[in-house]
């Protein structure tokens, strides 16, 4: 049992972005940071991964915690300023969405799609590539071309409205392993349309329903 689990059982709200009940705890977004007192020592821990123990006293809100959540929200808003999840957090913690220069990649690297595909679907069609500030998610074209069209379950997990997952999937599929063939097989019009846009140099994404959306790529 983690602090987050215990809090949820008790009806105490701790904000999360990267947490999902079906998935293993990740501890990536750190918005669930709380103050934990054990044996007289107060430490800041991530509620989603920290195990509960006897006599552990947890504070879920404090001036310090709010300050941290505010900055963390502001940092993520630079990538996905229109995300509903982040906008709600901004309201709660008085975060300024314009605090940092915008880099709208729409991906905040919560890893929900990556972990869902690995843990639940066990397909590993999408993964993290590179590290540090260059980290991004990427679909593995060889796997995605076979697995993704009939699934797309990760799209609706995305806290930044599925745009990033859809876009990255498109890009992977249209830039290698004969996408035309797989498009023809699935009778999917979107791929062919994306392919045309790609040749015109315009970054394009799909919302998963065949509708094309204009967006900006990261990097």
């Amino acid at each position: 049992m983690t602090i987050l689990g215990a809090a949820q059982n008790a009806g105490v709200v701790i904000p999360t972005v990267c947490h999902h009940e079906k998935l293993q705890p990740f501890g990536g977004c750190r918005l669930c940071t709380v103050e934990a007192d054990a044996g007289g020592r107060t430490t800041l821990v991530a509620a989603c991964v920290y195990p509960v123990q006897n006599d552990l006293v947890v504070r879920t809100r404090s001036e310090q915690i709010d300050k941290i959540r505010k900055v963390l929200t502001e940092q993520l808003l630079a990538y996905a300023p229109e995300s509903e999840v982040l906008k709600n957090l901004a309201l709660e913690y008085h975060a300024d969405k314009d605090r940092f220069p915008k880099e709208p990649s729409f991906c905040i690297l919560c890893g929900l799609c990556v972990r869902y595909c690995a843990e639940i679907k066990q397909k590993n069609a999408v993964g993290f590539v590179d590290r540090g500030p260059n980290r991004e998610i990427s679909f593995i074209p060889e796997v995605a071309a076979v697995e993704c069209w009939d699934c797309k379950e990760c799209f609706r997990l995305c806290p930044t409205s599925a745009l990033q997952a859809a876009f990255v999937l498109m890009r992977s599929l249209t830039s290698s392993v004969s996408p035309a063939k797989s498009a023809a097989k699935n009778g999917n019009q979107t791929i062919a349309a994306v392919e045309r846009h790609r040749h015109r140099g315009s970054p394009v994404a799909s919302d998963g329903n065949g509708t094309l959306l204009q967006t900006t790529a990261k990097g």
Binding site: G27, R30, Y50, I68, R131, P133
Partner: protein, 654 residues
């Protein structure tokens, strides 16, 4: 080699090795650590071989390449026993003279000895050189006596006797107690009590347990672990086997970074030799205890020095830290109890077992016992590895051992603890170096990096440099570290480029708080240290950069300008010739002028302008004086009237 099956056989074997050694024979030890090899130690070893043979001395002379003794500034180092004569900065050309004078005639080659820069006195033996004299070299002191590729050298010095003692005279619990009693703390940076860590792994219920050597030393400018791995690999192996016995583990790993090829080679050889001698593998020394060890090469990620990332990397997964608890002591490699210690921690273990916990804890301060190796680098006269008892002051390390700052410059700060460490200014030089005092001063012990900076170093730029390193090395898993370090780096870059604005310092402090408090692992939690420590001691430098667009140390490229003082310029034509961007206009007898639009601020003109002129001036935060009008640039020489006429004539015709 026959297997050694008991402590008595080990002792007999040691006596055998010693009896074959003629105490009167000459032994030439040449440092063959990575640093000295790079400056030609390999050629020196070969030259000694040829010369000794040429002069017919091969019967009574032994030549060996050894581990690094630490005086890298003056390498390659050669030590000649039995008289312990220490020659510095030896080249292959010196070898014939050393052989004929020192080895044949027993006389000194004066020019290769250490000369005290103050008194002018020469030091003959290693122990007389101030650099060594002020150290306590419990661990690296043996490096120069050992050929790391030869187990006999280690055995001759009493090697593996601690292992024999542990296996036959001590219970695992007694070993853990002894380590606890010694108060040894982890040398990798955390400073966690080693004995308590061992006890936790020992008490964790499981059939299979692992012990691991963390040799993923990645701090820029740090090479303590490399020197021990390359120079005395058996000491680490012996410590590891003792630890395995204490914890109840039969399998271990040495995680060495790929960038240390010589360390990998020497460790590989050491393992092979230990197995051949029955000191590793099944039924060690006939005790019934089995232990095997494998070497794993790290692929180059700094964050893999963090223990949970190291474990995942060993399992073949991406090297990203995971949350603790559970700690590796209960749930480590493949979910089994695992004990990870740093190279230097393991190397201390045989010393504690042989000499006792009381001997060990006589070194150091109340809460930090023993010695610690530091790599002393940067703006310091004696660059090298320094092993001191904990509690020696920074001032003694820098001035007594390091001999101060070169070039008559003033000391500004010392950065301890690697990239995520902190900068300590001159006012705090008298703090005693141990885990707690460094932390109080806003820095950390880390694994022992120590970078000295002089007055020409800009502290904002130093913070920017380290944040750049940490940003690139962040794994990117958790957002406070990935985003916080990236944003801090962006702000610092802006400040050093003259784009800083009001509020930047406060924003840095806010980002530092969230990164330090909310990050997943020690990398993120310590990453704000360079920013916070420089803000604590050098806040005025930040303010000057932001408000006046001026770099007080004249170091930030975007904030400095170079111009040539027309009254001092000797029109020597050196700077126009060397200018990397063709920005200097000038000719013979024509005062040189820098075209500010073309200048790329490389500083070459500033460095090469002859000191008799000193005409190139570096300024920051003030406007560049207008160039003097062309008609006033002609220099009329007075010294030689005949030449002056001719020169002026030339100019006119031009």
């Amino acid at each position: 080699m026959a297997m050694i099956n008991s402590p008595a056989e080990l002792e007999r074997h040691r006596q055998d090795i010693l009896s074959k050694r003629n105490p009167g024979a000459t032994r030439i030890s040449i440092c063959a650590g990575a640093g000295c090899l790079a400056t030609g130690a390999g050629k020196i070893i070969a030259a000694f071989g040829q010369e000794v043979e040429k002069q017919g001395l091969q019967c009574d002379t032994h030549i060996k390449g050894t581990g690094c003794p630490g005086f890298c500034e003056r390498g390659p180092v050669v030590v000649i026993e039995p008289d312990d004569i220490c020659y510095l900065q030896v080249t292959p050309n010196d070898v014939p003279e050393i052989v004929s004078r020192t080895i044949k005639e027993k006389k000194l080659v004066d020019r290769l000895l250490y000369v005290d820069p103050d008194s002018g006195e020469k030091a003959v033996r290693e122990a007389d050189i101030p650099f060594y004299k002020n150290q306590a070299r419990n661990i690296i002191g043996n490096n120069i006596k050992i050929d790391p590729k030869c187990i006999e050298d280690y055995l001759a010095l009493g090697g593996y006797s601690a292992l024999a003692k542990v296996l036959f005279q001590m219970t695992p619990e007694q070993v853990v107690e002894e380590i606890k009693k010694s108060k040894l703390r982890g040398r990798g940076g955390g400073g966690f009590p080693t004995g308590i860590k061992w006890e936790a792994a020992r008490n964790a219920p499981a059939d299979v347990k692992y012990v691991i050597v963390n040799a993923d030393e990645g701090d820029p400018g740090a090479f303590m672990d490399r020197a021990v791995l390359e120079g005395n690999p058996h000491s680490i192996l012996e410590g590891l086997i003792i630890g395995a016995y204490a914890i109840g583990s039969h399998e271990g790993y040495i995680y060495v970074r790929q960038e240390y090829p010589l360390a990998l080679e020497n460790v590989g050889i050491a393992i092979k030799q230990a197995v051949e001698h029955g000191l590793l593998g099944a039924n060690i020394l006939g005790s019934g205890f089995d232990f095997n060890v494998k070497v794993h090469r790290g692929a180059g990620a700094f964050v893999c020095g963090e223990e949970t990332a190291l474990l995942l990397s060993l399992e073949g997964k991406p090297g990203e830290p995971r949350a603790r608890p559970p700690y590796p002591a209960t749930k480590g490699l493949w979910g089994r109890p695992t004990n990870i210690n740093n190279v230097e921690t393991w190397a201390n273990v045989p010393l504690i077992v042989n000499n006792g916990a009381d001997w060990f804890s006589q070194f150091g301060t109340e809460k930090s016992k023993g010695t610690k190796i530091f790599s002393l680098v940067g703006k310091i006269k004696n660059t090298g590895l320094v092993e001191i008892p904990m509690g020696v002051t920074l001032r003694d390390i820098i001035y007594k051992i390091g001999d101060g700052i070169p070039g008559g410059k003033k000391f500004k700060a010392v950065q301890t603890g690697g990239p995520a460490g902190g900068c300590i200014p001159a006012a705090h030089l008298d703090i005693a170096v141990d885990f707690d005092e460094l932390t109080k001063a806003g820095a950390i012990m880390g694994s022992g990096g120590m970078i000295v900076m002089d007055e020409d170093t800009c502290m904002v730029d130093v913070a920017r440099y380290f944040l750049n390193f940490l940003s690139e090395e962040s794994c990117g898993k958790c957002s406070p570290c990935r985003e916080g370090v990236k944003r801090m780096h962006q702000i610092l870059t802006n400040i050093t480029e003259g784009q800083g604005k009001e509020g930047d310092i406060e924003l840095l402090e806010e980002l530092a708080l969230s990164t330090r408090s909310a990050s997943l692992c020690a990398l993120g939690r310590s990453a704000p240290n360079p920013v916070l420590s420089t803000l604590r001691y050098f806040r005025d430098e930040y303010e000057t950069h932001i408000r006046d667009k001026r770099c007080p140390s004249h170091s930030c490229k975007e904030l400095v300008s170079y111009y040539i003082d027309p009254d001092r310029c000797g029109a020597c034509r050196i700077c126009p010739r060397e200018c990397t961007s063709g920005a200097i206009i000038g000719d013979k007898n024509l005062i040189h002028v820098i075209d500010q639009a073309l200048c790329n601020k490389c500083g070459t003109c500033f460095e090469i302008c002859p000191s008799r002129f000193g005409a190139v001036i570096r300024i920051s935060g003030e406007p560049v004086p207008a160039p003097i009008p062309e008609e006033m640039r002609i220099i009329v020489r007075k010294k030689n009237p005949k030449r002056e006429k001719q020169d002026v004539g030339n100019l006119v015709t031009n």
